[in-house]
């Protein structure tokens, strides 16, 4: 709309410009002033019309006042400035040529109406907006409440449904809320938990730090702690828990509540205790076992200075016989009774009895005065065994051998102590049993050497530390070499050459005798073949024979016959080139099962010699049924013949034995021949072959070769 200069439209615009300039600074519109002026222009036009209309209508002005609110002129200052502007300029710019008096009156009435319209609209708007924001706040509260309700419902479901016990208490310890799981842990009764105070739940087994941690937590110095804790249930039973307590703080960080989470570990604990008990106790006797004993011994040995320990190592004498003759069930009952008696011997604090296995028991005493106590303890044990034990209507006399070790803590390891006790016990046993011996460092050292040899044996075989010496067997009639006895030696890296008496018993004990024996047999047979190759198939009086010793352990080994056959076949040596020597004692009481392999070997042509004849209980009647072809007379019979004249009784005995042997078709070999006179005497008595220093000491195989040559040429 273009306005004619100073025409009514131009004047109306000028009024609107003045009005907008006056009001704009107090509005909060985001419009620019010219834009705002455009908003005021229609309002100015309405005012202008109302000023001049025929029938005066104040409502138009009311509407204009209200429209100001619509244009965001909500500041009362905007009304003041508007009214000032209308008062001063409306008649001037929009009155045209009307009657001034009338126009001024109308302007005044229009201002009143505008003010009323403004006020009413402002009131409406204010109320409307207040209503809107209140509604918004309410809705927001509803949304939040709903969200909280959902969250709370979920939390409550977790709280109620949790398998873990949950409880909340205030900082004074008053229990405020607990869940079902916690109630069930306490036995299910509400009054046993709700309304109670946490501090009432002390228990004798509370760890020392339990209540210190609690105090720190409720003071706010600690945010949580974790303990294992026991509670008394109303029914008197004990509830064990893994307990975690956390401090709950308010928004400002001030301690507010304590939250307890507890897991029922009663069952698990019982199971653990049982497993621990089973792992540390002997199932048969209920005594502590080796594990627990070592734990205690270790503790005793690690005790403070001034503390000592005393240990009795008991092994029952002849228990194997009881087991073998009465059966294992009776043996077990005997062990249980022994265990009970031993237990009653060690009841003082610091004392314990344990079963190490089999019929081996230990009693331990600790403290500062074990030097005297340990002897009393050993005596009590010996006394406890005095009364016979009644099993299956029999009165069994039980005896034991005790090795005693006593000493200060902090010097030895448990293994060392136990080894010393073991060695000492064996000393008591070899002294006849039914006695106690006190450990002695020297005896220990000897035994420990034996122990060292035992442990070195297997490697020694692997490393080829064994070798064989041969001692010739000479025919007494013509002095010819008929063979040799193979004697094994150990070239020990530290101890030098060791004789069989030093290590064969150890090898017997550990079972190494079987591979060692097999090696000796193979080496010897190989040597026999070598001799045969050198000297031809036969000497004048049959093949050169090799004598190899069999230990008792080898005798019972199921592979004996097969191993022997294999070796002979592999090396291509005839069975009659081999003689196996078995001690008389190994065959005492031998039944057919034990003799069977020997018979088979004998049937094949292997000679069997009865070694050390005359030292044991020489059961002459038994000789008949043994598959033996040679008797080797022990050196004790020939010793007296080194002097001249020889003891006539000895002569008679030897003569008798030789005669007996020959009547049973057995050849007789004598050992330990050292003089020519001796040799002559034995020849007269009818002995067949001999060995001894008179002929040759045991030596390398070449020596025998030389002897045989001498023999052949001589």
């Amino acid at each position: 709309m273009t306005a004619e200069p100073d025409g009514p439209e131009d004047r109306l615009r000028r009024f609107a410009t003045i009005w907008s300039r006056a009001v704009f600074p107090v509005t909060s519109t985001s419009l620019t002033r010219p834009e705002f002026e455009e908003q005021l222009l229609p309002l100015a036009r309405r005012l202008s019309g109302a000023l001049r209309t025929r029938s005066f209508d104040a409502d138009e002005a009311k509407a204009v006042g209200a429209a100001l609110i619509g244009a965001h002129c909500t500041d009362p200052e905007a009304l003041t400035r508007t009214l000032d502007c209308v008062d001063a300029y409306l008649v001037l710019y929009c009155g045209e040529d009307g009657p001034q008096e009338e126009l001024r009156m109308r302007s005044s009435r229009l201002q009143h109406a505008m003010a009323a319209g403004f006020a009413q609209a402002l009131r409406e708007r204010t109320l409307g907006e207040q209503e809107a924001i209140a509604q918004a706040a309410l809705r927001a509260q509803g949304v939040v409440a709903q969200a909280l309700h959902a969250t709370e419902a979920r939390f409550r479901a977790v709280f109620e449904g949790a398998a873990i016990g949950i409880g909340i208490a205030d900082l004074d310890g008053n229990v405020l809320q607990v869940n079902g799981a916690l109630l069930r842990m306490f036995g299910g009764s509400e009054q046993s938990v709700r309304g109670r105070n946490v501090m009432e739940w002390t228990h004798p087994e509370d760890a020392p730090q339990t209540w210190r941690l609690y105090d720190e937590l409720v003071r706010g110095d600690r945010d949580h702690y974790h303990v294992e804790k026991a509670f008394n249930r109303p029914d008197g039973t004990v509830l064990w828990t893994n307990l975690t307590v956390s401090l709950l703080r308010d928004a400002d960080g001030n301690p507010q509540y304590q939250l307890a989470l507890m897991e029922d570990t009663t069952e698990r604990r019982l199971l653990n205790l049982r497993l621990r008990y089973e792992a540390t106790h002997d199932a048969l006797t209920g005594l502590p076992n080796r594990t627990l004993f070592f734990e205690r011994l270790e503790k005793a040995l690690n005790a403070a200075e001034g503390q000592r320990f005393g240990l009795c190592y008991l092994d029952l004498d002849g228990f194997k016989t009881i087991n073998d003759s009465l059966g294992h069930a009776a043996g077990d009952r005997l062990l249980v009774e022994v265990a009970d008696r031993l237990q009653s011997c060690a009841t003082a604090p610091g004392e314990m009895v344990a079963r190490l296995g089999g019929d081996e028991f230990v009693a331990l005493t600790t403290g500062p005065a074990t030097e005297s106590e340990v002897d009393d303890l050993a005596e009590r044990i010996m006394n406890a065994l005095v009364t016979p034990i009644r099993i299956d209507g029999r009165e069994l006399l039980v005896r034991g051998s005790i090795g005693i070790v006593e000493g200060p803590a902090g010097e030895r390891t448990p293994a060392e102590v136990l080894r010393s006790a073991d060695i000492t016990m064996y000393r008591a046993k070899s002294a006849g049993g039914n006695r106690s011996e006190l450990a002695d460092p020297e005896a220990d050292a000897r035994a420990i050497t034996r122990h060292g040899l035992t442990t070195a044996l297997p490697a020694a075989l692997d490393r080829g530390e064994f070798f064989i010496e041969y001692q010739p067997l000479v025919h007494l009639g013509d002095g010819s070499v008929r063979g040799a006895e193979a004697l094994v030696r150990w070239l020990h890296p530290q101890h030098g050459v060791l004789g069989p008496d030093r290590f064969i018993p150890l090898a017997e004990h550990t079972g190494l005798i079987v591979p060692l024996g097999r090696w000796v047999l193979e080496e010897s047979v190989r040597q026999a073949r070598e001799w045969r190759e050198r000297h031809g198939e036969q000497t004048d009086s049959g093949p050169l024979r090799i004598n190899v010793n069999l230990s008792p352990c080898q005798l019972t080994h199921p592979g004996l016959v097969q191993d022997t056959v294999d070796i002979l076949e592999r090396l291509g040596v005839q069975p009659d080139s081999l003689c196996l020597e078995v001690t008389e004692s190994a065959l005492i009481g031998a039944d057919d099962d034990l003799l069977k392999p020997l018979r088979r070997l004998a049937e094949m042509g292997v000679d069997i010699a009865l070694d050390d004849f005359g030292t044991g209980y020489s059961n002459l009647a038994n000789l008949r049924r043994l598959p033996v072809s040679i008797l080797k007379l022990d050196r004790s019979f020939t010793q007296s013949m080194q002097q001249f004249p020889a003891d006539p009784v000895d002569l008679k005995i030897v003569e008798g034995i030789v005669s007996l042997a020959h009547s049973l078709d057995l050849a007789v070999t004598v050992e330990g021949v050292e003089t020519g006179a001796q040799a002559e005497q034995l020849r007269i008595l009818g002995c067949d072959t001999a060995q001894g220093w008179y002929y040759a000491r045991p030596g390398p195989p070449e020596r025998l070769h030389d002897l045989a040559l001498v023999d052949a040429t001589g």
Partner: protein, 270 residues
């Protein structure tokens, strides 16, 4: 199980809210006495505060129209507060019908009120979320429904970043949002600063303290610090300037001196 970030323990209308205080400054009645009390206290130190708010609204209006002129039809207004008048959707949809607007605020009352205001407007919606957790905004179903992040978006951060403390790393939040924007998007931003306030810093600090007291600290940042929010953006002319000097439509000299407090700027993603 965690309580949503936006949901306070309860709606406590006895605690002043910055969005209702803002409404009061703009002459509105969407506020309660606690809000007005806080506003009046701040105005004791800075009587021109309403003029700063008005300048913010005026800048936002110009910037939205500029964005619409640039062809942008999607607006994400974070910290939208209580809608009174001259809101983004009014301005933008007036410039180009069908323009889509998503408002974001963490004040549940402001959100509830926005819902009422936007009822029936298919192209505008509001999300209850927090600028400090941009992923909650970007993954909201309202944003998914209305905004295609493959096309340019105008991201409005008007008078909000000065309520995010350094501890909450506002720069990271802005960067995370910016990373989600397609090339050609605009960042429309205003921020409070001691620079430009026609008062001694001591007096201005009095007003700042009021916000500290109502647990909505006002973080005044320097122009340099504010410029860092535009890292990775090309500044639209005339750059980061006092609000009345950003593409004015009437003479800046006519503006109230308070309107020059703080800075405004628009950046464009490459």
């Amino acid at each position: 199980m965690e309580r949503p970030a936006w949901a306070p323990r309860s709606i406590d209308i006895t605690v002043p809210s910055v969005s209702r205080i803002y409404d009061y400054y703009l002459g509105g009645s969407h506020n309660f006495e606690v809000d007005r009390e806080a506003a009046r206290k701040a105005m004791e130190f800075m009587p021109g505060l309403p003029k700063i708010m008005q300048a913010n609204r005026a800048f936002m209006r110009r910037a939205v129209r500029f964005a619409a002129g640039e062809g942008i039809t999607q607006f994400l207004d974070i910290g939208s507060g209580i809608p009174t008048f001259g809101n983004v959707h009014e301005v933008a949809q007036a410039a180009r019908p069908g323009t889509r607007v998503v408002y974001v605020d963490h004040d549940p009352v402001a959100v509830a009120h926005s819902h009422a205001v936007l009822a029936g407007n298919e192209d505008a919606d509001v999300v209850a979320a927090d600028l400090r957790k941009p992923q909650e905004i970007l993954s909201s179903h309202q944003v998914e429904r209305l905004i295609d992040l493959n096309r340019p978006v105008a991201l409005l951060l008007v008078a909000i970043l000065h309520f995010v403390e350094d501890a909450d790393d506002p720069y990271a939040a802005v960067a995370e949002l910016s990373d989600a924007l397609a090339p050609g998007s605009l960042l429309i931003l205003t921020h409070a600063s001691y620079e430009g306030i026609p008062l001694s810093p001591e007096r201005a600090e009095g007003a700042v303290d009021v916000y500290k007291d109502i647990r909505n600290p006002l973080i005044m940042r320097s122009r340099e610090e504010i410029a860092r929010f535009f890292e990775g953006y090309d500044m639209v002319e005339p750059g980061l300037v006092p609000m009345p000097r950003w593409r004015p439509e009437s003479a800046p000299e006519d503006e109230d001196p308070y309107a020059f407090s703080g800075f405004a700027g628009v950046g464009r993603t490459a």
